[in-house]
Symmetry: C2
Subunit: 136 residues, 2 copies
DNA sequence: TGTACTGTAATATTATTTGTTACAGTATGA
DNA sequence: TCATACTGTAACAAATAATATTACAGTACA
């Protein structure tokens, strides 16, 4: 993951958490992050799919957290934006006639799976509530 | 890091570890990984800079581990290829007039630093020797 | 029924990663 | 001493991925 999606998603969730029961528009959120509103709507769409937010359409519409910030873990955010394994997506096709090449992808996959499990455990210790309460 | 450099570097080191005191050419290594020899030389150059390998130039030249595989940790490999923080490089420039936007980059940086520390601890538990001994 | 939103497709732009070509430098050994 | 087989690295090209933009249909409110 070389993109900014984790940062963007966490920024969105932080804004929603501090907004309480007020609906925030994608325009407003985009203004805080300083990116395009369509990108925000795409991330909102993804967060909604993962059950973290709810959206009301139409005039005076906008988004809101779907559950208390204490119940949203940073590992949930990571899962929502994750596309490829952390350390590389193993797109190499090593030479199968080389004893190392033949086996390495399996061992790399095992390693990456293991490392990501550690990452998830770490991120699972912090909730959105914990993250947001640092803001003063 | 959305690239393949960790995989490539670990593949190179695995080959060198199994080659013992034999020098391996970039051409040979590239053949096992199935990528361009120049890319291999670039990674070799980086690994050399980080003290993990040594290279002999000229005819019959090639590369070899600079120290025992037990003394090369996967965290060393990560450090060598790392360019940007794990979860995003925070290239956003949030709106400073928004209370969340004003502070979020600092909190994201803190979080990413903390998470990477955990990753390093995890990777530091496995040496190149441990990784290579899985190969049969 | 106009207005202010959302959702999403399609496309364009920009950035990053990977691959290639080219060539100078170095050590070996016939 | 010179052909050979390597390395090192710069410069450029191509491919891929991330981000931004435009456009427009759908929805709900007042």
């Amino acid at each position: 993951m070389n993109n900014n999606r984790f940062s963007v998603s966490l920024h969105i969730l932080t804004l929603l958490a501090t907004a309480g029961d007020e609906l925030l528009s994608s325009e407003y959120i985009a203004g805080s992050i300083n990116i395009n509103p369509v990108l925000v709507r795409k991330e909102l769409s993804n967060l909604r799919k993962h059950g973290m937010i709810e959206t009301r359409e139409g005039k005076a519409g906008g988004s809101i957290l779907a559950k208390p910030a204490k119940q949203i873990l940073l590992s949930d955010v990571y899962t929502a934006v994750r596309q490829v394994p952390l350390l590389g997506q193993n797109k190499n096709e090593p030479n199968p006639s080389c004893p190392v090449g033949k086996q390495i992808n399996k061992h790399l996959d095992d390693l990456y799976t293991d490392v990501e499990k550690t990452l998830m455990q770490k991120l699972g210790k912090t909730s959105l509530f914990d993250f947001v309460k640092q803001f003063k």
